[in-house]
Amino acid sequence: MARDKMIALAEAVAKVEDGMTVMIGGFMGCGNAHVLIDGLIEAGTKDLTLICNDGALPGYGVGKLVEQHRLRKLIASHVGLNPEVGRQMNAGELEVELVPQGTFAERIRSGGTGLGGVLTPTGIGTIVAEGKPVVEVDGKAFLLEKPLRADIALLSGYKVDPFGNIWYRGDTRTFQPVMAMAADTVIVEADQLIPLGAIPPEDVVTSGILVDHIVKGGDW
């Protein structure tokens, strides 16, 4: 099991091709995969569809990808703290799909766990429901929201072992555990590389079987 999945940052970044759909975890920049994002900026990667809870802040986290016009589309629940998202949207430079945050999490979970979608009461009677099927269960109406998947997920882990087991610090966890299941390729940047088995099996949050590659994260 002690497979070493470490690769160089450039190698990891090269796996993200122009036009791909990318998931990045975190919330308002906290928990974003900052090192990998800087790598994408450096590499010039563009035309991405980004699935991330928010647009972070200008100059911070995924906000950098927005600022540098690397996104064709953003699927998020909140973009209010990064005015550049609104500007590009109004200028027709960026397509934005807004999803209620709970539905956002559950659509990704659904995409990663083989379910057909989410039956949620959230959004019923609002513009979020437009064009979506409504399924009635025992007299109550639920929106059918479809699964979300990506070509690649870029995660940020605090303690990561060589097999890719991840322990997230604080509330950087956010959408990362569900994203780890919903992408064809999963890359984690590790703030700390620790020996195999150093995370007690009860405390592993994302199992290494979901992780393809590890890059060095750390200070920034």
Binding site: F27, G80, T122, G125, Y158, G170, D171, R173, T174
Partner: protein, 222 residues
């Protein structure tokens, strides 16, 4: 005293203070950004609530040295912490708690609320599109939805017979607390349950775009 004589800070403190009295000891509460975050400092003695931050904290607390902003932020993106006995959870679990009715109350602002308890608080077409964030899930899932807001917006009523802006959710609001009074949403419409004695009932009615039933007696909200 009319609204004009209260400054913004006084209005906000009045509202936050009154909402604080709606919360019970041990309640799990999710507070929207802005005014609602002022509520904890007004909690009566002996009332302790557990703050849930939808990005993944049960038992959210203020910034501390132990928890760096790199690893712990609240739902407003500001540095935060978990209090002893708190937990960090993933977003699917957090919204599972929210949608599943495990949050006793959520307090948030509004652009409009109407007589049926419909809420509009996330979009002004052509002007503002920050995204709904967690609001749509919160107002659908929390056991009690309390709107805390100023009664009017530049003199225009925000409490209406029917919302004109795109909705956040239908029939979700339980209580509206403003600087003028406390209004309950009932199956028979809006009921003014308490009033700020600085205003007359007629003044409240005038500032409200929906029919109000007036509770009798009508105690002071202060």
């Amino acid at each position: 005293m009319s609204t004009m004589q209260m400054d913004k800070v006084q209005i906000r403190e009045l509202i936050a203070g009154r909402v604080a009295r709606e919360l019970n000891d041990g309640d799990v509460v999710n507070l929207g950004i802005g005014l609602p975050t002022m509520i904890p400092s007004f909690l009566p003695d002996g009332v302790e609530v557990i703050l849930e931050a939808e990005n993944g904290i049960v038992g959210a607390g203020p910034a501390t040295d132990t928890f760096s902003a790199r690893y712990v932020v609240d739902a407003g993106g500001k540095q935060a912490s978990a209090i002893p006995g708190g937990a960090f959870i993933d977003s699917a679990t957090s919204f599972g708690l929210i949608r599943g009715g495990h949050i006793d109350a959520t307090v948030l602002g509004a652009l409009e609320v109407d007589a049926k308890g419909n809420l509009a608080n996330w979009i002004i077409p052509g002007k503002m599109l920050p995204g709904m964030g967690g609001a749509m899930d919160l107002v659908v899932g929390a056991k009690r939805v309390i709107v805390a807001m100023e009664h009017t917006q530049k003199g225009r009523p925000k409490i209406l017979e029917a919302c004109t802006l795109p909705l956040t959710a239908v029939e979700c609001v339980d209580l509206i607390v403003t600087e003028m009074g406390v209004i309950e949403v009932t199956p028979d419409g809006l009921v003014l349950k308490e009033i700020n004695p600085a205003f007359t009932v007629d003044e409240v009615r005038e500032a409200t775009g929906a029919e109000l039933t007036i509770a009798e007696p009508l105690p002071s909200m202060l």
